[in-house]
């Protein structure tokens, strides 16, 4: 086989040699396509596997850890929660609307494939600076795409994050997360149960879209590539997915299916290989039976990433019943093959075997690399200089920076109340939905702090996990588990590989301390265009629960006259105020200080106290403190006609970050009880002020209340238009 062809398929010549030696014969084109799809980073994690193995993935509530379509945790009784986050970065840059829409579609299929009904979605999206003309186009397209898909299928979007930073200018990030509810005794896995089971194709017809999508997703971009790659972007149809979801869930609730696997990245190839590998069986599939939208070659059918398709294994006796149910939902259905006992993946087309490979070589012999990495150098840098700081300037800068402003413009394009179980909508510390028919709630949040991770990957990752943790804690949600989405540039650069290794280490440390195992995830590498690598962006999605929805904290002020307290320990080395002063810090971070070590024990201690005080009903409202400091938390808590009056010795402190930082609102009469509780438990606090009517007062100086509030809520839209 010629070398160009091999390289075009994203395989190295060494990798090809391994295959050739194993098989001791030439490969067919179809087989080459299969290795191209299965041996890329997206499917086999060849760069990250070694490090991902170090993550904590189990504890007493984990029902399913990484390795299935989604992770599942136990939330008591017969209730399980399935969740996962996945990236659709490259497709969303080439075609923002369809790229992001199919990102949502893909992650929803991962959830209902396991028998879970999706109950919420979240996202994490990153773009270049708004001055970059293309950013507006990308932002509009991505938000439209996420909204369109989720709104149409009818799953509430309950939260997420949206950041603008220069390195995402030519490589935006779109990570979508989905959460589903499953009955513990009705979980479906991809492992087939019996030899002879029928392999059935369910869903949309197969077309040319997305051929080589998975290997594209693992490519480095160059800008003029864009047009050439467009045909590789899948086109989504949320209406079809809605039918598919209802049809599949009905089949599963009736027990008519043995196992199921969605045809996501690398389509029918990866789903059938996964099935065979999980079940330690073989598959025999006749490609002539696959429902087609247009004439396709065997090679194209194998690699198509057409959306809204499922592969299931059923017992022959259920065939008619399955057909009947799917007909009601107007979904294409075809028996295309069977489960065999020979541990081989065989595809036939026109009465010819076009693929005949042992499962082992595709899956178990997939390459695993131990890539060279450098430890980041220790930073010394200079200290920050905060002399001559002016409160007005700080507030004005904060209110003109997209990263701090209210992002209603984004989430008002999402349906966040469909299904009628939404307890907390986007824009608050964490999104919360009720488990239908119970009093239990699930909270979820997504976070990443790429700048801090660039400064110090290990500590920065701890900050990221701690931020999610505080998001949930501030709502009185007990954090339970994590899904991660590691977005990095090329791992062939040992500096970037070093960031990958150390941030996984930071994730491991923090997840172990908080007892929040990683149950699912996704890796997206080679996020760089024109030699500009993105900042390291290991996004996490954290999920937690509370058994009683009445115990949930408000994140908004409740009553005029109530006291405001700040909990936690102010960080000594604080970047947050500096970021407000100098928006170009991102490009000069090498000059500046290292991050302060985050004390996770303290983080946990304060969190436990917040949960207790919430259960005692001491806390009337609560918000965590992150970048933007106390001031931004106060703005987020502002509600209706309420404002705040605060006193703080040094105004700079108002913009600082805290280790285990929370702002809480309490009643006057509880002040003594609360402060003695905090002292007894070793939680740092200070009384910063109180809630007042239609005013913002800092150290007796009055600010224009309506101006600040309106700017906070409306400036995002003004800036991006």
């Amino acid at each position: 086989m010629n070398e160009d062809l091999i390289l075009q398929h994203g395989l190295t010549l060494d990798e090809f040699k391994i295959i050739k030696n194993y098989l001791n014969r030439d490969l067919t084109m179809e087989e080459l396509g299969i290795f191209s799809a299965m041996w890329n980073e997206h499917c086999c994690y060849k760069t990250s596997k070694k490090w991902l193995k170090k993550l904590p993935t189990e504890n007493e509530i984990v029902i399913q850890g990484p390795g299935e379509n989604a992770g599942i945790i136990d939330i008591q009784d017969n209730d399980g929660i399935a969740f996962k986050i996945e990236s659709h970065n490259h497709p969303s840059y080439i075609e923002p609307f369809n790229g992001s829409a199919t990102g949502v579609g893909g992650i929803l299929r991962d959830i209902f494939t396991m028998g879970a009904r999706p109950i919420a979605t979240l996202d994490s999206i990153r773009f270049g600076l708004i001055e970059n003309e293309k950013t507006k186009y990308l932002l509009n397209g991505v938000v439209h795409g996420i909204g369109h898909y989720g709104n149409c299928i009818g799953i509430p979007n309950i939260g997420g994050e949206c950041e603008f930073e220069t390195t995402y200018g030519f490589n935006n990030l779109v990570n979508a997360m989905a959460v589903g509810h499953v009955q513990k005794d009705k979980i479906f896995y991809s492992k087939p149960k019996s030899i002879g089971g029928l392999i059935v194709y369910i869903g949309s017809k197969t077309g040319k879209d997305g051929i080589h999508g998975a290997s594209m997703a693992s490519d480095v971009f160059s800008e003029d590539d864009e047009d050439d790659k467009r045909p590789s972007v899948q086109v989504g149809d949320p209406f079809m997915e809605k039918l598919l979801m209802e049809g599949c869930l009905e089949l599963m609730s009736l027990g008519l299916i043995e196992s199921m696997q969605d045809m996501g990245a690398a389509g029918i190839t990866s789903s059938s290989v996964e099935m065979a590998s999980k079940g330690n069986v073989g598959v025999l599939i006749n490609l002539d039976k696959v429902p087609l939208r247009q004439p396709l070659s065997a090679y194209e059918i194998l690699l198509s990433e057409s959306q809204e398709r499922m592969l299931a294994v059923i017992d022959e006796k259920n065939n008619l019943k399955v057909k009947e149910i799917l007909q009601k939902w107007q979904i294409d259905y075809e028996v295309i093959g069977e489960i065999t006992n020979n541990k081989r993946v065989v595809f036939e087309s026109n009465n010819k075997k076009v693929v005949d490979l042992p499962v082992d070589i595709i899956v178990d012999d997939a390459p695993e690399y131990d890539r060279e990495f450098y430890m980041p150098r220790k930073r010394k840098g200079k200290d920050f200089n905060f002399s001559n700081i002016k409160l007005e300037d700080m507030i004005n800068t904060l209110l003109s920076n997209l990263n701090y402003l209210d992002k209603s413009w984004v989430f008002n394009q999402y349906d966040s109340t469909v299904m009628g179980d939404t307890v907390k909508e986007p824009g608050q510390s964490s999104g919360i939905v009720k488990i239908h028919g119970t009093q239990k709630v699930i909270g979820a949040t997504t976070d990443c702090n790429p700048l801090y991770i660039r400064i110090n990957p290990y500590e920065g990752m701890k900050y990221t996990v701690a931020e999610s943790y505080r998001n949930l804690i501030s709502c009185n949600i007990s954090p339970l588990a994590i899904t991660n989405n590691l977005n990095f540039a090329s791992p062939l650069d040992p500096n970037i590989m070093g960031e990958l290794v150390l941030s996984i280490d930071g994730l491991k440390t923090a997840a172990a301390k908080f007892n929040t195992p990683i149950v699912s995830g996704n890796v997206s590498l080679y996020n760089q265009t024109n030699e500009i690598p993105i900042k390291p962006t290991p996004v996490i999605g954290m999920v937690g629960s509370n058994q009683d929805l009445k115990k949930i904290n408000s994140n908004k002020f409740c009553n005029i006259g109530n006291k405001i307290l700040v909990l936690g320990k102010q960080l000594e080395k604080n970047l947050s105020p500096y970021l407000l002063q100098d928006q170009n810090l991102a490009s000069k971070i090498n000059d500046y200080n290292d991050l302060e070590e985050l004390d996770l024990d303290y983080e946990k201690k304060v969190a436990d106290s917040v949960l207790k005080m919430s259960d005692f009903k001491y806390i009337m409202s609560c918000n965590d403190i992150s970048r933007g400091g106390v001031f931004l938390s106060l703005l987020k808590m502002q509600y209706k006609d309420m404002g705040f009056k605060v006193n703080i010795p040094d105004p700079i402190d108002l913009f600082c970050e805290y280790s285990a930082g929370y702002v809480i609102e309490i009643r006057n009469e509880d002040l003594n009880n609360v402060t003695s509780f905090l002292s007894k438990n070793g939680v740092g606090y200070f009384e910063i002020g109180e809630i007042i009517r239609e005013n913002i007062e800092i150290n007796s100086k009055k600010f224009d209340y309506f101006d600040i509030i309106n700017n906070y809520h409306n400036n995002f839209e003004k800036i991006i238009n």
Partner: protein, 226 residues
């Protein structure tokens, strides 16, 4: 006598379960869920055409659903002077059937709108009789085509016959808008002349439980039952 009701499910409906729960919890009576291909409706007091994207909103929102098999019986049900409520996509379906006048076009800012909105009643009818004059209700909207449009003649007749049930208004948040989607005269919901059919864009079935930010959606069912 107990109140009986039904919710029609079309392929792509996604608020059918919400509407079923809303009716079950508030009417305490029998609630049927009817698949669009069924030929007939049971005898009920109220039928809801729920929100969602029936048939993927292909062609036009509500256009394909308006030709469904069950629609003949829905029309018969309405002609018998019994109640018919179309919410969001259901409202769109009602205008496509021709049971209600006007049309719902794309929102003025050309974007999907998912947020809490504020409405108040304009003219009295059996769907809003429990709501006080000038009482401001907080109810979520979630639509892309909710901008009510009609010609001058239709508008005149809607007014003369007191068919405007709800209009958008400002609420208690300083940044809430008077007219969120550009509808003519801020119309949020209309009835037919006989006032037994109501179409509205806001979702009352998402504002009735204790944990919802507002329970104002209850008032519609309360109006019908009392």
């Amino acid at each position: 006598m107990s109140f009986k009701s039904a919710v029609i499910t079309f392929p792509g409906s996604n608020c059918d379960r919400d509407a079923l729960c809303y009716l079950q919890d508030l009417t305490k009576g029998v609630v049927y869920n009817i698949w669009h291909e069924e030929a007939s409706l049971p005898q009920v007091d109220l039928v809801i055409l729920p929100g969602g994207f029936s048939f993927g909103d292909y062609l036009r929102s509500g256009a394909m659903a308006s030709k469904s098999k069950i629609i003949n019986d829905v029309i018969k049900h309405a002609n018998d002077d019994r109640y018919l409520l179309g919410i969001c996509n259901g409202f769109q379906i009602l205008t496509e059937i021709g049971l209600l006048g006007g049309a719902l076009i794309q929102n003025k800012n050309l974007k999907f709108l998912g947020k809490n909105c504020f409405i108040k009643k304009k003219f009295k009818n059996n769907f809003n009789s429990s709501i006080k004059e000038d009482q401001v209700l907080q109810i979520p909207v979630a639509h892309n085509e909710g901008n009510f449009y009609c010609d001058n003649e239709t508008l005149k007749s809607l007014k003369n016959n007191e068919q405007i049930a709800f209009e958008y208004c400002k609420g208690e948040f300083s940044n809430s808008e008077e007219n969120i989607n550009g509808s003519i005269e801020a119309i949020a919901g209309i009835t037919n002349k006989k006032k037994n059919i109501l179409g509205m864009m806001p979702h009352p079935e998402r504002a009735y439980s204790d944990f919802h930010p507002s329970q104002d959606g209850k008032l519609i069912i309360e109006s019908l039952i009392t």
